[in-house]
């Protein structure tokens, strides 16, 4: 592991001389380096314990993947231009990064620059047995500077020598072990806190607090998450911004619904309308994103990639138009007024003093019963609407378990969520296949009117048939999944959860 020392300001200017006096070293490199740390908006690399740096020097640039302690995993030469997921060179870095980031885009998260000096610690036959990398003072863009650091890099097979260097540095006045790796210091200097990033509210309620306080806190967090995703959605940085924005709006609508009797009815009704409007603005763009993300996979099932290119082009055109309309909505006065009012009217606790636990118990009990009633009514002959209705009730129950989860025993709650998720997955598969099938049919009608060649329309027919089969398969499984969910074990699990508070 790399060890880092913070170098006191008193030693600063003479740091290299001090090291040269204390150890047998050779100064190998002295340059100014700009370092750009890349990660996704939701810090997927950081959360996986990795940092991806782009080191740009005068004549060269490198892509370096390390762990959070600074221990290097790989280093590859790269272009000086900004790094994107698509431009990563083949190799370990690309493999590891792409696996972790999925559909998310890489973005520069923090930029720092400063002098870097590399000293080789020499052993017998002038062999390098360890390296000391002296970095800083580091200027952080939009942040405070970070002081001088000396990082010891141990070399494979020479660990004892690196340990000896650490002991030597530890004994030099003005050198002290750094409290955190340079990356963490740079993040802190830039005011970034990856560990506190949330794509959904982080809620911890005490049972006795007023429900109004709990709702106001939840709505405050939801508003912040919406705001956090607006810019990325407008610029279409990746499809997850819109996804997170849309899901957060849906969650907010659910919270407002749960707040019946807690939040003033006029306010609630007004924001229910506004949030529905916002949710509706996101629907078409998100549907088209989903189509295009899964297009290759979908097409592979009907073995007609070339023939379906006109469909891909049509979807891409529709997506462009839909995103433009969404952007207009997100830049509108109506959206600005919604956000403003949300802060002043929804994110402040009202006068009702009822404890949150009472409200949670009541809502959960009602939602559980509703799911039971809708589920019991489902038979193999039930219409698609009944399945959709069950899906909505399940979603409501899931949100309640998420919002009020902290009030109940974690084990029983997490098992209840897992069981519910199994049911939701099949209901979701049913509805997704139906929605896609209907859309494919509509797109085929449009393309036919535009004079598209028959081969494309026939391939779309096969696609529609494939989606019908997929929907039928999901439908056939709904009853079994419902029976699994409705078994006695889960009834007891729910009872255990509500009594575990």
């Amino acid at each position: 592991m790399a060890a880092e020392f913070a170098v006191d300001e008193t030693v600063g200017p003479s740091c290299i001389d001090v090291l040269t006096d204390a150890l047998r070293v050779r100064v190998d490199l002295h340059h100014t380096e700009r370092r750009v740390w890349f990660d996704t908006h939701d810090w997927r690399l950081f959360r996986a314990g990795l940092q991806l740096e782009h080191h740009v020097r005068k004549r060269e640039s490198w892509l370096v993947l390390s762990d959070l302690e600074g221990q290097r995993i790989s280093r590859q030469p790269t272009r000086r231009a900004a790094v994107t997921a698509q431009s990563l060179p083949d190799g370990v870095t690309r493999d590891r990064v792409l696996e972790l980031i999925g559909v998310r885009a890489l973005a520069p998260r923090v930029v720092a620059s400063g002098p870097v000096q590399v000293l080789s610690v020499l052993g017998p036959a002038e062999k390098t047995v360890a390296r000391i990398v002296v970095e800083g003072p580091t200027t952080v863009r939009n942040g405070a500077p970070v002081g001088l650091r000396a990082r010891i890099e141990s070399l494979r097979g020479y660990d004892k020598d690196a340990a000896k260097v650490c002991r030597t540095l530890d004994a030099i006045p003005g050198f002290g072990p750094a409290k955190e790796p340079l990356f963490e210091s740079v993040l802190r200097a830039a005011g970034l806190h990856p560990r506190s990033f949330r794509s959904k509210p982080d809620l911890e309620f005490i049972p006795g607090i007023p429900a109004t306080e709990a709702f106001a806190g939840t709505l405050t967090q939801l508003r912040e998450i919406v705001l956090d995703n607006v810019e990325g959605t407008l610029r279409q940085r990746d499809t997850e911004f819109l996804h997170d924005l849309r899901v957060t709006v849906r969650r907010t609508r659910a919270v407002l619904k749960f707040a019946h009797g807690t939040i003033d009815e006029d306010i609630r009704a007004r924001y229910a309308v506004e949030l529905k409007w916002l949710g509706d603005q996101t629907s078409l763009s998100r549907d088209l994103d989903v189509y295009l993300l899964g297009f290759d996979d979908l097409v592979s099932h009907v073995n007609a990639s070339g023939e379906l290119e006109p469909l891909r082009e049509q979807l891409t055109r529709h997506r462009k138009t839909a995103h433009a309309a969404l952007n207009r909505a997100l830049r509108s006065e109506r959206f600005a007024a919604l956000l403003d009012g949300w802060q002043h009217e929804l994110a402040v606790p009202g006068p009702v003093e009822r404890p949150v636990i009472e409200v949670a118990d009541e809502l959960l009990s009602r939602a559980w019963k509703r799911v039971g009633k809708r589920g019991e009514a489902i038979t193999d002959a039930s219409p698609a609407e009944a399945v959709h209705d069950l899906r909505k009730r399940c979603k409501e129950l899931r949100y309640l378990l998420e919002f009020f989860g902290s009030l109940y025993g974690a084990d029983a709650r997490s098992e209840a969520v897992s069981e519910l998720k199994l049911l939701q997955d099949i209901l979701g598969a049913f509805q997704d296949a139906e929605a896609q099938r209907i859309s494919i049919h509509q797109y085929a009608v449009e393309l036919a009117k535009a004079g598209t060649r028959p081969a494309t329309l026939m391939a779309m027919g096969r696609l529609e048939h494939h989606l019908q089969l997929r929907q039928d398969a999901a439908r056939a499984e709904v009853t079994d999944r419902w029976h699994r969910f409705n078994r006695k074990h889960n009834q007891r699990l729910y009872a255990r959860m509500v009594t575990s508070r």
Binding site: P77, G91, R156
Partner: protein, 248 residues
């Protein structure tokens, strides 16, 4: 992980210098590289300033008593590690012979390094032996230096036969002319003829150059300290050809 063996039946033809320079260039292009010096003379180990000693010797490595990972030493260069030579490698034939399926043993040992390295370069002792059979069996590419002499074609034929007769899937062969003195007509003629007449002979020729000899004094690959010299340019070109053949 791709394995490139720098191998020749004959000694003193530029095998170790090719291995050292190719390994350095592979690391410079962003690959994680391991150079295994299998020659008991330890030329590559010396070039990288590493002590030619493996705890427990070749026997411990071949028998599996000592993990290959534990014997690896970092070179002075980023992403380039070395498995040092040991004088006990002079008995490597006997040590391998004591193992089950001796010609597969080296390949099996290297399989355990696949997560850590993208490229392994083997610097082999000049001989036709059980060790060389094992090396040929493990390698994806045999990089073979040839000195420009009338007998070169015969040496190349011998090498082809040796590779063809080795058990298992045959590696690709890329021979190249080494120690070429452009002042000599024979060297010039062979440098032009051989690549044209034989598909497995590289277009690149490595010149006879004093900078290559100085590697022993500088103790570092020439490509690291005389980047623009004709020898370095030739090694870069050789690496470009080798990486295509080895699918690196």
């Amino acid at each position: 992980m791709r394995i490139i063996a720098s191998y020749s039946i004959k000694g003193g033809v530029g095998k170790t210098t090719a291995a050292a320079n190719v390994a350095w260039l592979a690391a410079e292009s962003g690959h994680r590289v391991l150079l295994w010096d299998l020659d008991p003379q330890g030329g590559a180990t010396y070039l990288f300033r590493i002590r030619p000693k493996v705890k427990g010797g070749g026997e411990a490595l071949v028998s599996g008593k000592r993990d290959l990972h534990d014997a690896v030493k970092a070179s002075d260069f980023d992403d380039l590690d070395l498995l040092p030579s040991d004088f006990s490698y002079r008995n490597l034939d006997l040590l391998l012979d004591a193992q089950k399926k001796p010609t597969r043993r080296l390949g099996r040992l290297l399989d355990s390094m696949a997560d850590e390295y993208d490229v392994v370069v083997l610097d082999c002792a000049p001989s036709v032996s059980l060790v060389s059979e094992g090396i040929v069996r493990a390698a994806d590419l045999v990089l073979a230096p040839l000195v420009p002499a009338p007998l070169s074609v015969r040496t190349l034929d011998q090498l082809r036969s040796f590779i063809a007769e080795a058990k298992g899937p045959a590696p690709d062969l890329l021979a190249f002319l080494s120690m070429v003195d452009r002042r000599r007509r024979l060297h010039r003629d062979l440098s032009e003829q051989l690549p044209k007449e034989h598909q497995d002979v590289a277009d690149t020729v490595i010149p006879m150059a004093s900078v290559v000899e100085q590697m022993g004094v500088r103790r570092a690959p020439v490509v690291a300290w005389a980047r623009m010299s004709p020898a370095s340019v030739a090694y870069r070109s050789l690496w470009d050809e080798a990486r295509l053949h080895a699918k690196v």
